[in-house]
Amino acid sequence: MSNAMTDRRDREVLTPSLREIAADWSADQEVFRHTHWGKAMMWIFLLSDTFIFSCFLTGYMTMRASAVLPWPNTAEVFALTIGGQDIPLVLIAIMTFALISSSGTMAMAVNFGYRRDRRKTAALMLLTALFGLTFLSMQAFEWTKLIHEGVRPWSNPMGAPQFGASFFMITGFHGLHVTCGVILLLIIASKVARGHYDRTGDYSSVEIAGLYWHFVDLVWVFIFAFFYLW
């Protein structure tokens, strides 16, 4: 760090945050030295994952915009009959609430992790995993229902054949992420419960697992908007 080299003019022109960026990126290979290495790596992984999901969603956009047959009405396709009434998209709405709730409990788990509250952290992480499993079982139900109705990756009785390909690819890949997330949460939660992080004195793993989990929720926000509601 060469604070002496920044003259007064720079100090007046640049805001403290911008000066911080300049200092970070000019310090050779250690831009993220203020961040826990695991956290920085997780963020970089999530960035690459963002590109993967964006490619899926862009592919979906391309297929839907170039389809000559009408796109199936998602409100009807994902409707459930409850009490003799067709309620549009209701299962997807419940799945959304389950995933948001899991994000809420995860955020609190991270918070209690920083307070070194072993029991509450582990319990909240288990609750998060449980919400994740709820989401997954509803997704399994949804897939089963659609497959029974004749939806295939190459065709479906409702309209544009591209619908099935986008649906199975996008929700399947997201479901895979949720599954991995649940496994990761269970592993970290059991380590928390056994006091592993109390011994090492570093609860960062909880926050890193949390980042991954929130990302899964974040992706769902985009899938919900573009695939189900559009």
């Binding site: 993220f32 862009t58 956009m61 391309t62 409100a75 609430f97």
Partner: protein, 117 residues
């Protein structure tokens, strides 16, 4: 977005973050509200440009809340924030290219393939 003015001592590591639990509950509530609103957009059969605007608006608000509060991005260093948020912007170029491509494919199918294909 509140941003702490970083201390001049760059060796300080921001680590332990003690935000009140009520903050997370509040964000949780907002996310529920926004999800309900975007569900209502579909339920009320809002169509056309209003529908797309509302969907995108609620989506971006939810994404912003998750990123800034739940993922603690609001309290990270600006270098990390920019490293995460700027690269995805190039995806807009991909989206633009693929819109042109999809338009071309659509009209090719409609005109030369008898609406099939």
């Amino acid at each position: 977005m509140q941003h702490e003015i970083p201390s001049t001592d760059t060796s300080v590591v921001h680590e332990a973050q003690h935000h009140p639990i009520s903050l997370y509950l509040k964000v949780w509530g907002y996310l529920f509200l926004l999800s309900t609103l975007s569900y209502l957009v579909d339920y009320m059969h809002v169509q056309g440009i209003v529908r797309w605007t509302l969907i995108i608006l609620f989506m971006l608000l939810k994404a912003g809340l998750i990123l800034s509060i739940f993922m603690h991005l609001a309290w990270e260093r600006l270098s990390l924030i920019y490293a995460i948020l700027v690269p995805p912007l190039v995806l807009l170029v991909l989206v633009r290219i693929m819109t042109i491509e999809a338009d071309y494919a659509y009209w090719t199918r409609a005109i030369f393939m008898g609406g099939g294909g």
